[in-house]
């Protein structure tokens, strides 16, 4: 108990130091295929003029931690600089046969599954190194999955600030209210990372998160 209090105190002091430097490590977390890399690409395109990673409709396309250093964003006369960390999607199950169903050969599917498992482990290990986290959820999917609850609960336990993004709001099935109902204590911003809908509001959310 006392150790937890001391840990929280040290974390909050370190975090306030990071805040003062306006140079934070911002992680993109969430389940596979939520659109983390699409959002990372959107941010990098908007502010650096280049993409960050490859996207695919096949799950677990991002299987390694990707870092883009010194991303500077501006909004209403304010400026924010951060290192953007795109992480592999966190899952509790990975079946190479699922990759074969979408056209991968067995050898390739097994390799992808193995890399994906390592990616999940790395993403979890990196949780401790984040100053702030954007959770990217697919707004067309059920938000009550235990993986979402586990990630968000872990970040809360570590006192890491969280912004929830409901991605893919351009799709008819998207339901932002469901995400808001599932996580009422968090600010939820609906965006389409692919088409850029509502990204200005997302950037404002980032300033509120770490600015």
């Amino acid at each position: 108990m006392v150790v937890d209090i001391i840990k929280k105190f040290i974390n909050s002091v370190l975090r306030s130091l990071f805040k003062k430097k306006k140079h934070v490590r911002l992680g993109l977390y969430g389940p596979p295929n939520g659109g983390k890399t699409t959002l990372a690409n959107r941010i990098c395109q908007d502010w650096l003029g280049e993409e960050m990673g490859k996207v695919s409709s096949i799950a677990h396309e991002t299987r390694e931690i990707q870092i883009k250093e010194q991303v500077n964003i501006k909004s209403k006369g304010r400026e924010l600089s951060f290192n953007l960390v795109d992480t592999p999607g966190i899952a509790t199950r990975i079946d190479y046969e699922d990759f074969m169903k979408v056209g991968l050969k067995e050898k390739e599917a097994k390799k992808r599954a193995k890399e994906a498992t390592k990616g999940v482990i790395d993403a979890i290990k990196w949780l401790d190194d984040m100053d702030a986290v954007v959770i990217v959820l697919d707004a067309t999917k059920d938000p009550y999955s235990q993986v979402n609850i586990t990630i968000i609960g872990n970040l809360a336990a570590r006192n890491i600030p969280v912004l929830l993004v409901g991605n893919k709001v351009d799709l008819k099935k998207a339901d932002l209210k469901r995400i808001e109902a599932a996580f009422p204590q968090y600010n939820v911003i609906g965006i389409s990372a692919k088409y850029g809908n509502n990204v200005d509001k997302f950037y404002e959310g980032l300033f509120a998160l770490v600015g």
Binding site: Y96, K118, I121, T150
Partner: protein, 128 residues
């Protein structure tokens, strides 16, 4: 095909360290049993469970499905809330249930405030 549900009372894991708790669950799930745990794991133990699951994944073991069910905190009545919080403090992680099943058997666990739906894999289809 018969499903095996393995109940773990909280008392059985109460004195175990985090690593042993997680290992006990994983070992049972790898035997194709659906584990029904009284109470819940700590947040860090949940991520440990995911990490260890990933380390164990193979051609045969495809991972897990997991759901934690906590009692609803909908009571607006002050005394009911107080009672709920009191028992929560008293019982700690013993409150609620955790279901962990092997992904090869459990396709999905859906939670609803009033029910839990556990969808199993279509074994016949898989054998074809």
């Amino acid at each position: 095909m018969a499903l095996t549900l393995h109940f773990i009372p909280y008392a059985e894991i109460e004195d175990l360290g985090s690593a042993r708790r997680v290992k006990k669950i994983i070992d049972l799930v790898k035997e194709n049993k659906i584990v029904l745990l009284e109470g819940k794991l700590k947040k860090q133990e949940e991520t440990d469970l995911i990490e260890i699951t990933m380390e164990e994944i193979s051609d045969k073991f495809k991972g897990i499905e997991l759901a934690v069910i906590s009692p609803e905190k909908k009571d607006k009545d002050f005394f009911k809330k107080l009672k709920h919080n009191f028992f929560g403090l008293l019982l700690g992680d013993r409150v609620g249930f955790t279901i962990i099943g092997p992904a090869a058997i459990v396709k999905e666990i859906k939670k609803d405030p009033d029910k839990i739906e556990l969808f199993t894999q279509d074994i016949k289809k898989k054998k074809k």
